[in-house]
């Protein structure tokens, strides 16, 4: 039981990390609010489904197309909406939130709810690790999660573009004086974030169904992980995902499944009391902002 819990806890953490990463990249690291994240996630899932079922494309093609389209959606969102209200954090949040809402409820109107729509897993079958069997899909999720985290960390700390992402959030004016085109970098960041959301959707959705509620869940979970781990810190996301992921799995296995949500709530409450800016958060309280 313990090994199983540990393994599935790890998987759960990977899922959370994967979900939170795209959101963290645009919002936490680049400072571009994207509260339509859940909608983008679902959007990618549906596109893949449409590609597979309505157009009969092979899986790989559908996946690639949907990632591409999601990136386009992200960039469109940026140039049409975010750019016009940039600088006013409130407006960015409200505009993207409104758009995300519109998209998700539109899907609901077109009846994409419930159990009807699913994506097939990549490979059937499972692998045995000790006494536990994990299906290949979950394994792939874990591998991709770890890989992407590493990639993002290295990317934002060691590549020119990645550093530019962080620069525009810290001090846009200074970034501009360094020749960083903050508008373009913001769009790039949005594109990356959307791509990450799409990737997450494609690997995670096969585990369940594509449903509008899932979009809201994604936003909630991403927010929860970011709050606990600290907005903007890749390490924080990782640690928070591990903490919450394992705590949730342990609760589900040793107590009862419906206490899982309580775990996230307790995590948030604890963080808010001890270190409100998140475990690795770098939000400065007033005293340090001079």
């Amino acid at each position: 039981m313990l090994v199983g819990t540990l393994v599935y806890g790890f998987i759960n953490s990977s899922i959370l990390a994967l979900l939170a990463m795209g959101f963290n990249l645009t919002f936490g690291i680049s400072g571009v609010a994207n509260f339509a994240y859940g909608a983008v996630y679902i959007f990618a899932g549906f596109l893949t489904w449409i590609g597979l079922n309505s157009f009969g494309f092979p899986y790989l093609v559908s996946v690639l197309l949907s990632v591409l389209c999601t990136i386009v959606l992200g960039i469109l969102m940026y140039y049409l909406i975010i750019l016009r209200v940039k600088g006013l954090a409130l407006s960015e949040v409200m505009a993207t939130f409104g758009l995300g809402l519109a998209i998700m409820e539109l899907f609901r109107y077109f009846d994409f709810v419930g159990f009807r729509y699913t994506l097939p897993v990549f490979f059937d079958g499972s692998l045995g690790i000790g006494p536990v069997f994990i299906d290949y899909q979950r394994l792939i999720i874990a591998i991709i999660a770890v890989g992407l985290t590493l990639f993002i960390y290295l990317f934002t700390h060691h590549t020119k573009i990645g550093l530019a992402f962080r620069a525009i959030a810290q001090d846009e004016r200074t970034a501009l004086t360094f020749g960083i085109d903050s508008d373009f970098i913001g769009a790039l960041s949005m594109a990356f974030g959307s791509a990450l959301a799409a990737v997450a959707a494609i690997v995670i959705l096969p585990l369940g169904t594509i449903a509008v509620e899932g979009g809201y869940e994604v936003l909630i979970n991403a927010l929860a992980v970011c709050i606990v781990g600290g907005l903007g810190s890749t390490v924080g996301i990782l640690v928070a995902s591990v903490v919450i992921g394992f705590a949730q799995t342990f609760t589900a296995n040793y107590l009862e499944t419906h206490w899982m949500m309580l775990v996230s709530l307790i995590a948030i409450a604890a963080v808010l009391i001890i270190k409100p800016s998140g475990l690795f958060g770098r939000q400065k309280e007033l005293e340090e902002r001079i």
Partner: protein, 334 residues
């Protein structure tokens, strides 16, 4: 010859400043009219409506209260994406007091208002010290999580909620209670914001470091504003509980979080009358569009986006400007 637009105060505005307002009936009317319209309109004309439309109006007033409390919070720089938190907590407290201890609405509503305000303030206290965006995130997440928590743990009635609670003596009573509350909230908040206290609040939003160095404890002020906004929201929730005779998970619904924000964006932030106006436009509109089902929320969302991008100042600011000032083309001097 190049021309530019110039905006000047209307003559009557200048003539009705300060004590000169009493100089003639015209000036007094100029000042009183905008204020009288909501008061007279609400208190005198609404009982004449059909029962169905009275219901719509009550619902509108509830949303308007939430919108006004949102506006109060934003005046201090607190962006709330979760008015439903206040509504839901107020609703549950009133419901619980009525269901388990049999208190009548006369007592549950005031009690839930104060207790709800305290509870919500306590919950959000840690995030007050951080950047505004954190406040937005936490207010967004908390009601959604509480919703799922209630569903999972089945406390306070779980998915069914607390049913069979005491109603108001009549629809007319409910109508008047909420309208008086709304008007009190509107004029009260406007008074507060216009006073020196309100100046401090707006200053905190503008430049909190300056206020801190002026010897004021900004965290305490922010806490007070949070309590004000939260209590009004809790009042709305408590009222709603006795209106529907039900307290449950729908109290934390996304609707209660989005509508106030949309109303404020449409109507104009910072004026209190603007969000109220926005609510009075959006809620009846959505009633009429009810036939479209959940397409309603798509509509809200798009509305929100369009207004934030295209007309950020909101309708009320626009109307106010037109009322007080006129425009004309002037030649550009060399």
């Amino acid at each position: 010859m190049k021309k530019r637009k110039e905006r000047i105060d209307r003559g009557i505005k200048a003539r009705s400043e300060d004590i000169f307002a009493l100089s003639s009936y015209r000036e007094m009317l100029y000042l009183l009219l905008p204020r009288a319209i909501p008061v007279v309109g609400l208190l005198l004309f609404t009982p004449l409506l059909s029962s169905y439309w009275q219901e719509v109006l009550i619902s509108t007033a509830v949303y308007a209260l939430l919108a006004i409390s949102w506006d109060m919070l934003i005046s201090a720089g607190l962006v709330s994406l979760g008015q439903s938190l206040f509504y839901g907590i107020g609703s549950y407290i009133a419901g619980a007091l009525n269901h388990y201890w049999g208190w009548s609405p006369l007592f549950t509503i005031p009690a839930a208002t104060v207790a709800g305000g305290l509870v919500c303030t306590a919950m959000l206290l840690p995030v007050l010290r951080l950047r505004g965006i954190y406040f937005a995130m936490v207010t967004l997440v908390l009601p959604l999580m509480l919703l799922r928590l209630v569903e999972a743990t089945r406390i306070l009635g779980g998915t069914e909620g607390l049913t069979g609670l005491d109603p108001f003596p009549s629809q007319l009573t409910a109508l008047y209670v909420i309208q008086v509350a709304l008007l009190a909230g509107l004029f009260g908040f406007r008074r507060i914001i216009g006073s020196d206290y309100g100046l401090i609040i707006r200053a905190i939003n503008d430049n909190d470091r300056a206020v801190l160095s002026a010897g004021l404890n900004i965290h305490w002020y922010k806490t007070q504003v949070l309590f004000l906004g939260a209590s009004v929201g809790a009042f709305a929730g408590a009222f709603g509980t006795h209106l529907d005779m039900f307290a449950g998970m729908p109290g934390f619904a996304l609707d209660y979080s989005i509508m106030p924000v949309a109303s404020a964006v449409v109507g104009g932030m910072g004026t209190f009358a603007g969000p109220m106006l926005g609510a009075f436009i959006l809620v009846p509109l959505s009633e009429i569009l009810r036939a479209l089902g959940t397409l309603r929320i798509v509509f809200y969302g798009l509305f929100l986006v369009v207004f934030v991008v295209a007309l950020p100042e909101g309708l009320f600011h626009y109307a106010q400007r037109k009322y007080h000032q006129f425009e004309r083309w002037v030649e550009v001097e060399k």
